[in-house]
Symmetry: C2
Subunit: 202 residues, 2 copies
DNA sequence: GTCTATAAGCTGATAGAC
DNA sequence: GTCTATCAGCTTATAGAC
């Protein structure tokens, strides 16, 4: 089926990858709307014109960035599953992101939450794609709660954990209060222990 | 001291007020960076040039918008205090914003949280001004918890309530799941009842 | 594959007529 | 006070040389 001569189209392209990596970082640090081709070109070390060999529009770069973040999300989850065999331990890995990534969150917020919010305001067609990254965490967390014996409330519990992380991220970005973050993580850890201890619902 | 002839400088200006009101709405709906003078001018019904009689720069409009939101925040809190005499009832007023304003939050997020986040990404000088609105809620909630006998943890409890509202706002914006919002508000209401019932700490 | 040169449009901002 | 006309600069995007 696949023609073999011109190149399988899956060949790695160093420049394209560099553009996506830099755009990923700048979209996170400065926002999508405020990041121009010039910003990205300067950081990558290429000319503005060279962009259009790899991408036709700015929106296409955004799509590639979202796809890259989606892949990174799956990789992170796979790493948690390889490291920790218990569902509770894995959920804790998620809860503790707000501590592990605190420096970046403090300055630029949660990468998923801020991108989803910005694309919502822009009425951007890639908004569902960004929200889908939240969806991956939601589904995965839900599966962990099901394994803990909370099949009936698994999705609600997953959403509660997601809301926790977003609330902490927004407040840390606004106030940069380290004690607050640690307090909320401890509170959530106790909450998780209670959920684990009561696997049967009324 | 105050000269009386040219006008006390506090005179109401209908055009200026209209600019601020429209900018307030558009900054919320579309974001600050993505809202141009043309957008505002078209919505107000004036020319682009007329702007500079009332404001010298776009940042000055933002400052006026933040000041206006700050005033609206104080007014809202005053209304809660006039309507509900109990500290717990007042805190509940705050908790229930995510239900009362759900339509707008779903589409554009929390006005305070999204503006603070955007200004952080832009490295904008008005970021502290936007965060100060959060600060007003924080201080006011803290005072309510103090009245409930939780003086020592008042600020931590206030921050927990703020984080709740931001977490729910971000997730509602991403998933638009009404049942989730109502569930989280009920959970928070039960939490508040527990806090009220245990006014003495270990 | 990367570059330079260029286009058309929008941006915030200014000057001056009315 | 509001307007029109205008500015320089930046934006995304294209064409074509190398």
């Amino acid at each position: 089926m696949a023609s073999r001569q011109p190149r399988p189209a899956k060949e790695t392209n160093a420049t394209r990858d560099a553009i996506v990596a830099v755009a990923d970082r700048l979209f996170y640090e400065q926002g999508f709307a405020h990041t121009s081709f010039s910003h990205i070109a300067d950081a990558v070390g290429i000319s503005r014109g060279n962009f259009y060999y790899h991408f036709r529009t700015k929106d296409e770069i955004l799509e590639a960035v979202i796809a890259s973040r989606m892949q990174a999300t799956h990789d992170m989850i796979a790493a948690w599953e390889a490291r920790d065999g218990s569902p509770a331990g894995r959920i804790l890995c998620y809860i503790r992101i707000v501590v592990g990534n605190r420096g970046k969150i403090m300055r630029h917020g949660c990468p998923v939450g801020t991108l989803t919010g910005e694309l919502a305001k822009l009425g951007h067609p890639s908004r569902p794609g960004a929200s889908a990254i939240f969806g991956v965490f939601r589904g995965w967390l839900s599966r962990q709660f099901t394994l803990l014996g909370h099949a009936r409330n698994a999705d609600a519990l997953a959403m509660h954990v997601l809301a926790f992380s977003q609330g902490v991220a927004v407040m840390d970005n606004a106030f940069r209060d380290r004690a607050f973050v640690e307090r909320e993580v401890e509170r959530m850890t106790r909450w998780l222990a209670d959920v684990v201890a009561a696997p049967v619902e009324a």
